[in-house]
Amino acid sequence: MAAYIARRLVMLPLVAFGVTVLIFALLSFLDPAVRAGAFITNPNQLKAIDSIIRTYGLDRPIYEQYWTWLREVFRGNLGWSQTARMPVREAIAAFFPGTLELTFYAFVPIMLIGVWLGTAAAVHRDRLVDHLSRIFSISFRSLPSFVWGLLVLMVFYGRLSWFPPGRLSLDADLFVRSGQFHAYTGLVTLDALLNGQLWIFADALRHIAGPAITLTMVSIALLVRLMRSSMLEVLNQDYVRTARSKGLAEPVVIDKHARRNALIPVITLSSYTIVSLLGGVVITETIFNFPGIGRWGAFAAQQLDIPGVTGFTMFVAALTVLGNLAADVLYVFFDPRIRLR
C-alpha cells in the first residue's frame, strides 16, 4: 500500500514535467512577435516589440527558455500572469477557492440525487423511473456543457431573474472587500457564515446556484448509471434474498442491506467526480462569469499568457493525480477485498 502510494506520488513531477514540456514544445511553433504581443496594452508600445522579445528572451532556443523557466519554478517562482495581473502563484491562490466552492455545491446534489435516482432506477428496473433516468442522463450528456449553461442562464436569469451570473452582487462584493468582513478561508459562503452575515451567504448562494445546476446536470449521468448497476448487482446476491425471506420489510432490505454495499463503488467514483468537476468547470465558469480558476485558465489560454497557462495546467494536473490516488486509496479502505499492487 505504502509502496503503491509512493509510486503514484513519483508520477506527480513526471506529469508536471510532461505537460510543461509539451506546452513549451508547441510554443516553439509560435512567432516570438505574437507572444510579445501579449504584453502590449496600447498601440504606442508596438515599437517596443523587439525590446520585449529581447528582454524576455523570446527569440532564444525553446529549450533554453524552458530551462530558464524551470530554474525559476524550483525557486518557487511560477512567473507573472499577464491576464490575472499578479504572480501566477497568487493567481492560483486567489482563484482556486471560488472553484472549490463551486465544486462543493455541485458535488452535494450530484451525490444525493445520483444515489437516490440510481437506487430508484435499479429497484424499479425497466419501469418508468428507470427509463426516465436513462433518458435524462443521456440527453444531459449529449450536448456540450456550454449549451446547458446558456439554457440555465436563459431560464433562471433571463426569464426568472433568480440566479444572476458572477460571484457576488455589487453591494455584497463591496462589503466583502471592506474591513468589516474577515476572509478566513476565501470560500465566500463559509466566510459569510463565520462572519455572521446571512445576507452575504444568501447572495453568494444565489450566484453559485446557476453554475452549480449546470455542473450537476452535466456530471450526474455517470453516477446514476454506476449506482444503478451496482445496486442491481447487490440486489441479486444471496444475502439480500435471505433478508427478504426472513420477512424484512422491503424498505429495510433496500436501505439497510442492499444500498450500503452498493455504495462502495459509488464512493470511490465520487473522488473521480470531484476531479472531473474541477477540470470541467472551465466552460461553466466562463459562461456564468464566475471568477474561478477555470475562467482564468481559459482566458489565459486565449490571451497566450504562457506563464499563466503552464502554471495553472501544472496545478490542475497535480490535482488530477492526487484525486485519482485518493480514489484508489478510498477503494481499498471501503472494500478490503481489493488489493493495490
Binding site: M11, L14, V15, G18, V19, L22, I23, L26, L27, F29, L30, V34, I138, S139, R141, S142, L143, P144, S145, F146, V147, L150, L153, M154, Y157, G158, G279, G280, V282, I283, T286, I287, G297, A298, A301, Q302, L304, V309, F312, T313, V316, A317, L319, T320, V321, N324
Partner: protein, 375 residues
C-alpha cells in the same frame, strides 16, 4: 465409378450437415437485429453520413452564400393555406426587414413561392468532381428557403449545418483512425512483453492519462498557428484529440493482451517460429477486434463534443469552415439567444449524433459479446 461414389457421399454429407454455418459477422448481425433501439441509432447514423456525402446536393444554398439583407432571419414558415385557398405543395412568402434592432421581418403575401424538389440553384461539384446545379429542395429566386433561419450575416443555417456535418461527423472517425492503430500496437507490445517493458510503457501512458484533458486541449489549441487555413486547422485539432485519447485505449488493449497471450494458439504461433511482431499483429490483436469496434463507436461522440467545446472558446474549427460546434457558438451570448432561439438548431444535430452513436455502440457491444448472446 469411384468418383460417382465420392460425389454421392458429398451430396449425402451436404444433406446431413448442419443447415448453415454462420460467420461471426452474421451472428453479430442476428443479435443486432433484436435491438430495435440500436438499429434506430444505426439508421440515424446512416442518414447523417449520407448527408455528409451528399452535402452539396442536400443543402439549398452553398457554404458561403450570404443574404446580407436577411440577417438573423427566423426559420421560413412553410405554408399550405392562405387567402387564396389550400395548396398541397407548400409555399413561402418573400420577407423584408422591418426593424433591424428587433430583427422583425414583414411578410409579403401577394405572391406564393412554391417549394420544389430538384430545383436549379448554385452550381457545385459533387465529390469535387461531378458538376451539378440541382439541389434537393428550394424555392425560386426572390423567395428564400431558410429552413432553420439565418445567422448574423444572413447565411442559411440549415445549409451550414449540412456542410458542418462533414467536420463534425468525421472528426471523431479521423481521430479514432489515429488512436486505434497507435493504441493497439502500443498496448499490444506492452502486454505481450510484460515485465519491465510493460511497466515503463504503462507509466508513460499513465502520465498522458493524467494530463488535465480539456485544459490541455485548450492550451494546445491556443498555441496552434493562426495563419493556416481552416482545413489544416481541422486536421491539427483532430490530431490533438487523438493524442490525448490513445493512452487510455492502449491500457485497455494491454489488459486484454495480458490474458490472450497465455492461450494455446499464441504458443502454437510462437512454436511455429513466427516473429514477435507477427504474433502480436496477426494472432493476438485480431482477438481484441470486437472491443475495439465498441470503444471506437462510444469514443466518437466524445470527439464531437470536444470539438464543440473548443469552438466555444474560438479554438475549434474556424470560420469560414463550419462545424456544428462553431455554428452553435453563434448562440453563445444571452441577448442574441433570446432574440434568435433558432441558433440552437445545430445542438439538435449534435444530440442526434451523440445519442445515435451511444445507443448503436451499446447495441454493438451486446451483439459482439458472445456471452450476452441469446439464441
Amino acid at each position: 465409378m469411384a468418383q460417382e461414389a465420392i460425389r454421392r457421399g458429398q451430396r449425402a454429407r451436404a444433406e446431413t450437415a448442419p443447415p448453415q454455418i454462420r460467420t461471426p459477422a452474421q451472428l453479430a448481425w442476428r443479435q443486432l437485429r433484436k435491438h430495435p433501439m440500436a438499429l434506430a441509432g444505426g439508421a440515424v447514423l446512416a442518414v447523417l453520413y449520407l448527408v455528409v456525402a451528399l452535402a452539396e446536393f442536400i443543402a439549398p444554398y452553398s457554404l458561403d452564400f450570404a443574404d446580407r439583407e436577411r440577417f438573423y432571419h427566423p426559420p421560413t414558415v412553410l405554408r399550405f393555406w392562405d387567402a387564396r385557398g389550400f395548396s398541397l405543395r407548400p409555399f413561402v412568402y418573400v420577407t423584408t426587414l422591418e426593424d433591424p434592432q428587433l430583427r422583425t421581418y414583414r411578410v409579403d403575401p401577394t405572391r406564393r413561392y412554391y417549394v420544389r424538389f430538384f430545383v436549379h440553384g448554385e452550381p457545385y461539384r459533387m465529390f469535387g468532381l461531378l458538376p451539378g446545379s440541382r439541389h434537393l429542395v428550394g424555392v425560386d429566386a426572390p423567395g428564400r428557403l431558410f429552413l432553420m433561419g439565418t445567422d448574423q450575416s444572413g447565411r442559411d443555417q440549415f445549409s451550414r449545418i449540412v456542410y458542418g456535418s462533414r467536420v463534425s461527423m468525421t472528426i471523431g472517425l479521423l481521430s479514432a483512425m489515429i488512436t486505434i492503430p497507435l493504441g493497439m500496437v502500443y498496448g499490444g507490445v506492452a502486454g505481450y512483453y510484460g515485465g519491465r517493458v510493460d511497466n515503463l510503457m504503462m507509466r508513460l501512458a499513465e502520465i498522458i492519462m493524467s494530463f488535465p484533458g480539456f485544459y490541455l486541449l485548450l492550451t494546445l489549441a491556443a498555441v496552434l498557428p493562426t495563419g493556416v487555413g481552416c482545413t489544416t486547422h481541422f486536421y491539427l485539432i483532430t490530431f490533438i484529440l487523438a493524442f490525448l485519447g490513445w493512452a487510455g485505449f492502449s491500457r485497455m488493449i494491454r489488459g486484454m493482451v495480458l490474458s490472450i497471450k497465455e492461450r494455446e494458439f499464441v504458443q502454437a504461433a510462437r512454436a511455429a517460429g513466427l516473429g514477435d511482431f507477427r504474433v502480436i499483429v496477426r494472432h493476438i490483436l485480431p482477438n481484441t477486434a470486437s472491443q475495439v469496434i465498441v470503444v471506437a463507436t462510444l469514443g466518437i461522440p466524445g470527439a464531437i463534443l470536444g470539438e464543440s467545446s473548443l469552438s466555444f472558446f474560438g479554438f475549434g474549427v474556424r470560420e469560414p469552415c463550419a462545424s456544428w460546434g462553431n455554428l452553435l457558438t453563434a448562440a453563445s451570448n444571452l441577448p442574441t439567444l433570446i432574440l434568435s432561439p433558432w441558433l440552437l438548431f445545430p445542438g439538435l444535430f449534435i444530440i442526434a449524433a451523440v445519442v445515435a452513436f451511444n445507443i448503436f455502440g451499446d447495441g454493438l457491444r451486446d451483439a459482439l459479446d458472445p456471452r450476452a448472446r441469446t439464441s
